[in-house]
């Protein structure tokens, strides 16, 4: 099969690049490893500083990507290998079986209701709730097609019997697809910092210590409990603490970089909590607030004025009390530098972003270089921001460094126009 561009990653950066290129008339193949496109943005509650609903912005993009005549979307698929082929590339893609016939499934969720297996962890709700072994990833998923988690499936056949469209197909096998493309865009995004790596904060050990992605889910329109509950006893949180810079600007965990978004998403969440739980106290423990974008500083000041407390001092450790409340120990730098211990009933760790260096392994023969922080290296950062060490391979979004959503979309624009320029140049040379 022939395409013009292979876009690796179906998050906001990948979708934006694909749409730009599709609109320009190029044939695009977008490969996403999860069962739905949308990436992390679709799972968010709102975006800062406008407090626009994240899914209201990203669902149109998802639909446009999925239905664009020039874009082919492959979900639940992974690019296994990219090799040079003239000025273009030859790519091998592994399509993992969903055990559901994608064209037949209507997304009615009858299978979900029929499935007897309760899986403890719903990855799209960041483990706040469970799911079934056959499931629709999340309500706005595109394609809205069920997928069977075969590791947890007991092969009872209940879903098969319940499915009105006869879409369940246990005979599916992994499929390898080979394509020729003229250019590649890497939009593999970021990983959330696994907060277990900061054992002093007790994530995974203390029930009421959650990460900010979980809080975003608790605040999202499609939130699991329809309010902000703390995990240990389902009590509505009254006194919430944010620990900023968890896993960012921290050499002890090997990540000296600022993640650029944690200050702002924490401030955003603080405002949303004031709306969701009007009586709750919210305290942010920060080192310094980096509100650098248009309207960000104003948003921060507004949040302060709304009554959210900001305390300067990095939290050094968290201890749990018997009732599930947590004691935070920190130095109150702006009030005489006294060491303080303060109790909160829910602690949110504002986790940072980590790179996805695994992507380099799919490039054979030529090396996709990484920078000092294991993000994809921009070989000409100032003048040609999307260029990588491989000619014809471009990078978009957080794959080359932490950024917020507006910057991610900007970088996707850069990657798609640089890919266009590359393809036009190589076409003329032929």
């Amino acid at each position: 099969m022939e395409y013009d561009v292979l876009v690796i990653g179906g998050g906001i950066a990948g979708m934006e690049s694909a749409i730009n290129l599709g609109e320009a008339g190029y044939k695009v193949l977008l490969v996403e490893k999860e069962p739905s496109i949308g990436g992390k943005m679709i799972l968010l509650s709102k975006v800062f500083p406008t407090l626009d609903c994240a899914s209201c912005i990203s669902t149109p993009k998802m639909a446009e990507t999925a239905h664009h005549p020039n874009i082919t979307t492959m979900t639940y698929s992974e690019v296994m290998e990219v090799k040079r082929n003239g000025s273009g590339f030859n790519a091998k893609i592994l399509k993992k079986p969903k055990y559901v016939n994608e064209s037949a499934c209507t997304g009615c969720q009858d299978c979900e209701r029929a499935c007897p297996v309760n899986v403890k962890y719903d990855e799209f709700n960041f483990d706040l709730v469970g799911r079934k072994a056959v499931f629709i990833p999340f309500p706005q998923a595109i394609p809205k097609v069920a997928v069977i988690d075969i590791d947890n499936c007991i092969l009872c056949g209940a879903c098969e019997r319940a499915c009105p469209a006869s879409a369940i197909d246990f005979t599916q096998v992994p499929e390898e697809i080979e394509v020729n493309v003229r250019s590649v865009i890497v939009a593999t995004g970021f990983k959330l910092f696994p907060a277990e790596r900061k054992p002093q904060y007790g994530f995974g050990k203390f029930k009421n210590v959650i990460n900010a992605m979980q809080m975003d889910r608790l605040l999202a329109p499609t939130r699991p409990f329809n309010t902000v509950l703390r995990p240990s006893d389902g009590k509505e949180a009254e006194n919430i603490a944010y620990v900023l810079c968890t896993g960012s600007r921290d050499r002890t965990v090997g990540n000296p970089l600022c993640s650029q978004i944690c200050c702002m998403y924490s401030i955003k969440q603080a405002q949303l909590i004031l709306g969701a739980l009007p009586l709750a106290d919210v305290t942010l423990y920060y080192m310094d607030i980096r509100a650098f974008g248009k309207g960000y500083e104003e948003f921060y000041k507004q949040t302060r004025d709304m009554g959210v407390q900001f305390i300067k001092g990095r939290v050094a450790k968290i201890e749990e009390r018997e009732n599930g409340n947590l004691i935070l120990r920190y130095e109150d730098i702006e009030n005489g530098g006294r060491v303080q211990e303060t109790e909160h009933d829910l602690v949110v760790l504002s986790v940072g972003l980590l790179p996805t260096p695994e992507i380099t392994s799919i490039f054979k023969e030529e090396k996709l270089e990484l920078d000092d922080y294991y993000y994809v290296k921009q070989v000409d950062e100032d003048l040609s921001p999307a260029r990588t060490s491989i000619e014809g391979v471009f990078v978009a979004g957080t794959a080359y460094g932490p950024k917020d959503i507006p910057d991610t979309i900007l970088s996707a624009g850069a990657a798609s126009s640089e890919a266009t320029a590359y393809m036009e140049t190589t076409r003329r040379q032929k």
């Binding site: 002093q200 810079c245 600007r249 921290d250 050499r251 002890t252 080192m287 310094d288 300067k312 001092g313 990095r314 939290v315 050094a316 450790k317 120990r329 920190y330 130095e331 730098i333 005489g336 530098g337 006294r338 060491v339």
Partner: protein
């Protein structure tokens, strides 16, 4: 108004703490420190003062002396700036600052310290060579037949006077920098906190036990008590010689005390040597030469003191006399430099804690009255 010394940080960096400029003042070190208190919070404030060059704030507080460098701040510092290393560097710097006539500079400089240690040891050896008795008692070990009591007595007197002069002068300097006139502390209040500090901070070192690594606490205690024990054994031995008789049966007491204390001191100093050589914990990964000299001298003092008593016990004349001679050289080095080298912390620390404890007690009383 505070006076700013723009060269302060550079000077401190020469004493260790090379990475401290990486600090972004997040406060993690202070919050994680088990010894930092509400009144005296460190190390972040010390870092801040160092960066700004506000030397007086550092020298006039007890914080430096409250730190035991358990290393939790250094282990968890998000900038890997080694705050504990700065505390140690500041102590080295402070010992130099308090030193009368800047003598401590000699022992904290690179080449000058080598020359000084070698010179002092040669002086001690020369003294022994000149004053020793070439025909000691070879039938039954008697160290005093090798080096006479008179020589030890007078040399000890001179040494003691020199040390006392410098120690007292330097403690007065420290006192003046920590003393606050406006506190109006009564003699009784000084007296009360004096015993508190002497027992809790000097004799049992209670706060050290709040560090997570208990082995270091026991080793430090062993250093202190081993040294004190040997010191006492020496005094008793001479006291019995002087006041009773050289052949008194009571000499069993200093002998046993000497052997036990020697072993205890060996354990303490050996533990620290082992950690600094083989276990690269945050507190042991960097050692200033002043650290090495101090621990090695302690170790050698313990070793030779122990061997001396052992050889006396089993009656081996020449080994005993050699051990005695080496012991005297080591102890000479250790004691003469006590006010200027790392040993000086043993006098500065209690004084700093005593003053600060007295003031904080007083403040509590004043608050209670108000």
């Amino acid at each position: 108004m505070e006076k700013v010394n723009p060269d302060f940080l550079d000077n401190v960096k020469e004493m260790g703490a090379f990475d401290i400029s990486a600090c972004y003042s997040c406060g993690n070190c202070t919050a994680v420190c088990p010894l930092s208190t509400e009144e005296y919070s460190f190390p972040r404030k010390m870092i801040r003062y160092s960066m700004l060059g506000i030397e007086d704030k550092i020298l006039s507080g007890p914080e430096l002396w409250q730190c035991y460098y358990c290393g939790e701040c250094t282990d968890t510092c998000p900038r890997e700036a080694d705050p504990g290393g700065l505390m140690m560097a500041l102590r080295r710097y402070t010992i130099r600052q308090y030193s009368v006539g800047k003598i401590a500079d000699i022992f904290y400089g690179g080449t000058s310290s080598v020359i000084a240690w070698v010179f002092l040891s040669l002086v001690a050896i020369a003294g022994l060579v000149y004053f020793h008795n070439p025909t000691p008692n070879l039938q039954r070990v008697d160290p005093l037949s090798f080096i006479t009591l008179d020589f030890l007595h007078y040399a000890g007197m001179v040494l003691g006077i020199v040390i006392a002069f410098f120690a007292i002068a330097q403690l007065v300097i420290m006192w003046r920098s920590l003393y606050k006139d406006e506190m109006h502390v009564t003699i009784g209040e000084w007296w009360q906190s004096f015993w508190d500090i002497l027992i809790n901070e000097v004799f049992i070192q209670k706060t050290f036990n709040e560090c997570e690594d208990k082995n270091r606490y026991w080793a430090h205690l062993a250093l202190l008590w081993g040294f004190l024990g040997l010191f006492l054994a020496t005094i008793l031995a001479f006291g019995i010689d002087f006041l009773i008789s050289v052949d008194s049966g009571l000499k069993i007491i200093p002998h046993v005390l000497g052997i036990v204390s020697g072993l205890v001191l060996l354990y303490g100093s050996g533990y620290y040597l082992y950690r600094r050589y083989f276990i690269k914990d945050s507190y042991s990964k960097y050692s200033h030469h002043s650290d090495w000299v101090f621990i090695w001298l302690m170790f050698l003092a313990g070793l030779t003191g122990f061997l001396l008593d052992l050889f006396v016990w089993i009656n081996l004349p020449w080994p005993a006399y050699i051990a005695f001679a080496v012991h005297l050289v080591v102890v000479f080095d250790l004691l003469l430099t006590a006010p200027f080298a790392k040993f000086a912390h043993a006098m500065y620390r209690p004084l700093a804690l005593w003053i600060s404890k007295t003031y904080s007690n007083k403040e509590k009383v004043q608050q209670a009255q108000a």
